[in-house]
Symmetry: C2
DNA sequence: GTTAGTGGAGAACGCTCGTTCTCCACGACG
DNA sequence: CGTCGTGGAGAACGAGCGTTCTCCACTAAC
């Protein structure tokens, strides 16, 4: 197994275990068992557990935002794209093993003791917020709306994780629709032609 | 120091440390140091650390909901009470040492490994949700609104904790105002008299 | 065939921490 | 005055875990 493949296996195992059970609850031995990569090699790839955690959050950030963007961009209507964010949340919440947002959970676990984890959570949420702004910009709607949608989406992630209520995403989408409608009223679309 | 006073001191220390730094990051020795209660006595009051965590979350649940209710009930207007929830969030977010919601953080840390903590987080959020329903009921507004407000409030707690943006509560209040307005439009207040 | 190098398996080390134990000071009672 | 019980301080124990080390099998070059 070459270096890249080993790295991927380790990160796959880390993501499954850290996300599913929490970071502190998972030992390096378990990462080894699940990844099939020896402890020696593991420490050659990631010098410390902290580094592995960092790489896990980093890789998940890229894939999470890519998956969201791919779903949203399958919709052509600018306002429809905004709603599509919440459709995607619903898909995500329904995935087996869903356990809330990895960054919210990591922040709760390590935000107070690890500046790195706190910064990664902050960056991830800022990136998500900026993405929502590109969507409201694209629909010629005020950026305030993006901020409101961010709060709704974050609340939905938390609530879906803790309450395990499958209706949470639909609730969030409904609220997003109402906010979008309010925003449209204050700034109607530019006249066609 | 009698049993009750010792118990209070221990819970005060536990709340300060667990909330401020995370549960797993704080050892029983530190609880002893800060509370001034000997380890022996501490274990007489709480047989295990798990029990202490349980008692911490339990007591904080009661005080958090009481503080919220006291602020909300200082307002007489039924719709004003709904907005007052978000005013109180702003006060809370501004308190020194604010670090997000204790239950969201605990759930992120221990939700996957402790059924007790997961259940306490769930109960706390359900109680908050029911409280919001009493407020929408009181204003003769649909319960859907309460669900939407819950998501906004949860999102605000998470975002304020992670992003440390002091404008978060105001954003949430503005969004709540828009949702309230939408809801009022669909179900106008009963005619006076 | 011998040897040097690589990598795997897992034992070992050192630290942290939850929990228990030891020892001692002190006050109450005979 | 002696002794017994209570409670405090903190040492000690045992488990878990991050990290390192040891040992060995295997391969390739000469």
């Amino acid at each position: 197994m070459d270096r890249e493949a080993a790295r991927d296996h380790v990160l796959d195992a880390a993501e499954e275990l850290f996300y599913g059970r929490g970071i502190q609850a998972v030992g390096m031995d378990e990462i080894r068992s699940l990844s099939g990569v020896s402890l020696k090699r593991l420490y050659q790839l990631f010098a410390t557990k902290d580094r592995l955690v960092e790489a896990y959050l980093e890789r998940r950030d890229l894939s999470w935002r890519r998956r969201l963007a791919e779903h949203v961009e399958s919709c052509d209507d600018p306002e429809g794209r905004i709603i599509a964010v919440f459709d995607w949340l619903e898909l995500w919440f329904g995935e087996p093993g869903f356990r809330g947002c990895a960054w919210i959970n990591s922040y709760g676990e390590l935000g107070a003791t690890s500046a790195t984890v706190a910064a990664q959570a902050r960056r991830h949420k800022q990136a998500f917020g900026r993405y929502l702004e590109t969507l409201t910009d694209g629909a010629h709607l005020p950026r305030d709306l993006a901020g409101h949608l961010l709060l709704l989406a974050e609340g939905a992630m938390v609530t879906a994780g803790i309450l395990r209520d499958p209706g949470t995403a639909a609730q969030a989408r409904a609220a997003a629709g109402l906010l979008l409608e309010s925003a449209r009223r204050t700034r109607p679309p530019a006249p066609a032609g």
